[in-house]
C-alpha cells in the first residue's frame, strides 16, 4: 500500500516535466494564445489538479500531455522521453462520450487489452470490473447505466491497461453532486491501490482540495500558472477544518472571486 499522506518519502522522481509550453491556435482572422510559458513538474504517484476558469487552457494542456495536440513551443517529457503521440501509458478519462455506446460495459473495459491473450483479457477485465463495482452490469450497454456507472466504466477501462499516468478532463462534471462526492472517494481509493500519477482538470474548488496533493491554479487567456498550492492534509479530508477553509480562501483569492457571497 502506498502511504496516504502528502510528502511521502518515496523518492520524488519526476514523472512529467513540462518546460516553456506555449500553445497558439490560429483562427480565421487572428491568433489565440491558449497557453503561455507553462512550467510544471509532476512527481511519480502524485495527484495534481489543474484548477481554473473555463477557457484557461487546462484541457488543451491535458491534450498536449496526452499526445493529442502538439505544442507551439516548449516540451513535455514523460520519464525523460519527449511525448510524440497518444500512448497506453498515459490514458485519458473524458467527461462524456469517452466510452463506446455500442459496446457492453465488459467490452468497454476490455478495449485496451485487445493485443493480449484471451485468458489474460478475461482475467484483467474481471478484476477491474469488480474493482470499480460494476458486477452484474457486465452485459449492460452505456445507455442503460446511470451517469455514475458510466464513469466507473470509463475508470475501469483506463485502469485496465495499467497506465503510469491517468489524465482526467473534468471526469465528474456531468454527475449530480451526491454521485460526484461518492466518485471522488472511489477515485482516491483506486489511486491508492493502483499507484498511478493523476492529472485532473476541474473548475470545482472543493473538488480540487478534496483530491489533490497539489493544485495548479491557472489564469485565463492566455492560460498561465498563477500559483501552485500544496494541500498538506491527510485523507479523508475534513471539509470543516480550519486548514481546509484556509486553502479554499487562498484558491478563491487566486481565482479572483469573492469567497463571501
Amino acid at each position: 500500500m502506498k502511504p496516504n499522506r502528502p510528502g511521502r518519502e518515496v523518492a520524488a522522481s519526476t514523472k512529467i516535466s513540462v518546460r516553456g509550453l506555449n500553445k497558439v491556435f490560429h483562427r480565421k482572422h487572428d491568433e489565440l494564445q491558449v497557453l503561455s510559458d507553462v512550467d510544471l513538474d509532476v512527481r511519480t504517484g502524485e495527484f495534481v489538479c489543474l484548477l481554473g476558469p473555463s477557457g484557461c487552457g487546462k484541457s488543451t494542456f491535458l491534450n498536449i500531455v496526452g499526445g493529442f495536440e502538439v505544442p507551439t513551443s516548449g516540451t513535455v517529457e514523460v520519464d525523460g522521453a519527449r511525448v510524440s503521440g497518444p500512448d497506453k501509458k498515459r490514458v485519458f478519462v473524458f467527461q462524456e462520450y469517452g466510452i463506446f455506446p455500442w459496446a457492453t460495459a465488459w467490452d468497454n473495459v476490455a478495449l485496451g487489452l485487445h493485443d493480449r491473450p484471451k485468458a489474460e483479457q478475461e482475467r484483467i477485465t474481471r478484476h477491474y470490473v469488480e474493482l470499480v463495482g460494476l458486477n452484474g452490469f457486465e452485459t449492460s450497454f452505456p445507455h442503460e447505466l446511470s451517469g455514475g456507472m458510466r464513469q466507473r466504466v470509463a475508470l475501469a477501462r483506463a485502469l485496465a491497461v495499467s497506465p503510469d499516468i491517468v489524465l482526467m478532463d473534468e471526469p465528474l462534471g456531468a454527475l449530480d453532486s451526491l454521485t460526484r462526492l461518492q466518485m471522488r472517494a472511489e477515485l482516491l481509493r483506486l489511486w491508492r491501490s493502483e499507484r498511478m500519477t493523476i492529472l485532473f482538470v476541474t473548475h470545482d474548488v472543493d473538488e480540487s482540495i478534496q483530491l489533490a496533493d497539489r493544485i495548479v491554479v491557472m489564469t485565463a487567456r492566455p492560460g498561465r500558472i498563477a500559483e501552485i498550492v500544496t494541500v498538506p492534509m491527510e485523507h479523508p479530508r475534513d471539509v470543516g477544518s480550519a486548514e481546509y477553509g484556509r486553502i479554499k480562501n487562498r484558491l478563491y483569492d487566486l481565482l479572483g472571486v469573492n469567497h463571501a457571497v
Partner: protein
C-alpha cells in the same frame, strides 16, 4: 343516391371523436381502422359520383363505372390472386429490389466510410456524388434500357443507382460527423488500422447507416414500380401498366394497394434493425415510444405538447 357510405363514414368520425375524448387510450387498431373506413367511404362516394348512365332510346340501360369502387377492386383482383400472377409479380419486384439494394449497400457503405474517413477521398468523391444524386432514377430509364435491354438487369441497375446515393452520402456524413472523442479513445488504447475501423468507426456510424439504408429502400421501392412500367414485363409496376392497357382500372388500383402494403412491410423490416443492441443507443427514445397507458407516459406526452404542466 346511395346513403350507406355517408352513414358509415359519419359513424367512423363519431368513433374517432369519442376515442379522443376518452381518458383511457383506445385499442391500438381502432383509430387506424376508423381512418381507413373513412378513406374507403370517400372512395366509394367519389366512384359513385363519377358513374354515368348509359341510355338507349331514352331508357336507362345501366350505370357505367368509370372509376373502380372498392368492391369492384376486390373482385377485380380475384383473378390475379387466384392464378398466382400477383404472387409471382410481387416476388419479381421484391427480388429486383433486394438484389439492387444489396449491390448499392455493398458498394456504397465501404465507399462512404472510406471517403468520410479520408479527406482527400471525400474531396474527390463528394462533388460527383452530390451532382449525380439529384438526377431522378427515372431519368436513367432510357440509358438503362440502352445498356441492359428490357430485362431484369435494367431494373436492378436502376434500383442500385437509386439506393446508392443516399447510402454513400449517409455513410460519408456519418464518419465526418463522428465525435472526435471516439477516435481519440481508440488511439489512446492502441487501436489503429483495420481494428480502429472495425471496432470504432463502423459501429459509431452504424445507426446513421441504417437510417440512410431505410431511406434508400423506400426510394428503391418507389423506383422499381416506375422501372417495371417500362423496362420489364413482370412485377407490380408492370401489373399497373398492363392492367391500364387492358382498361382494367380495378386491377390498376388493386396493384397500387399491393405496392403500398409491401412497401410498409419492407420498411418494417428495416426498422427492426434499429432495435439491435449495438445500434439502440443511436435511436433515442422517441415520443412515439412513450407508453401512453402509464401515468408517467401521459405526463411526458403532455410536457412534449407544451401544455398543462403538472
Amino acid at each position: 343516391m346511395n346513403l350507406v357510405p355517408y352513414l358509415v363514414a359519419l359513424s367512423a368520425v363519431v368513433l374517432i371523436f369519442v376515442a379522443c375524448r376518452l381518458r383511457e387510450p383506445a385499442p391500438k387498431f381502432l383509430l387506424p381502422f376508423a381512418t381507413a373506413v373513412i378513406f374507403v367511404c370517400g372512395w366509394q362516394i367519389a366512384a359513385d359520383a363519377s358513374m354515368y348512365p348509359l341510355m338507349k332510346d331514352g331508357v336507362l340501360v345501366r350505370m357505367v363505372e368509370v372509376f373502380p369502387t372498392p368492391w369492384s377492386t376486390v373482385t377485380g383482383m380475384q383473378q390475379p390472386i387466384r392464378d398466382g400472377t400477383l404472387l409471382r409479380y410481387t416476388i419479381a419486384s421484391v427480388y429486383r429490389v433486394a438484389v439492387g439494394f444489396a449491390i448499392a449497400a455493398g458498394i456504397g457503405i465501404p465507399l462512404g466510410l472510406w471517403a468520410g474517413w479520408n479527406l482527400r477521398g471525400f474531396q474527390a468523391l463528394n462533388p460527383l456524388v452530390q451532382a449525380l444524386r439529384p438526377i431522378s432514377p427515372i431519368a436513367w430509364i432510357p440509358i438503362a434500357i440502352l445498356w441492359f435491354g428490357v430485362k431484369d438487369s435494367a431494373a436492378i441497375f436502376l434500383i442500385a443507382l437509386a439506393s446508392f446515393f443516399p447510402i454513400v452520402t449517409g455513410a460519408m456524413t456519418a464518419v465526418r460527423s463522428m465525435p472526435v472523442v471516439y477516435v481519440h479513445s481508440a488511439q489512446n488504447f492502441g487501436l489503429s488500422g483495420i481494428e480502429l475501423f472495425r471496432r470504432v468507426v463502423f459501429p459509431a456510424c452504424l445507426p446513421q447507416i441504417i437510417t440512410s439504408c431505410r431511406l434508400a429502400l423506400g426510394i428503391a421501392w418507389m423506383v422499381i414500380v416506375a422501372a417495371e412500367m417500362i423496362a420489364v414485363d413482370s412485377g407490380l409496376g408492370y401489373l399497373v401498366m398492363d392492367a391500364r392497357n387492358g382498361n382494367y382500372y380495378d386491377r390498376v388500383v388493386g396493384a397500387m394497394i399491393s405496392i403500398g402494403i409491401i412497401g410498409i412491410g419492407l420498411d418494417a423490416l428495416m426498422r427492426r434493425l434499429e432495435l439491435l443492441d449495438e445500434v439502440r443507443w443511436g435511436f433515442p427514445k422517441h415520443r412515439s415510444e412513450v407508453d401512453e397507458t402509464s401515468a408517467q407516459g401521459r405526463l411526458d406526452l403532455e410536457r412534449a405538447r407544451g401544455g398543462r404542466s403538472a
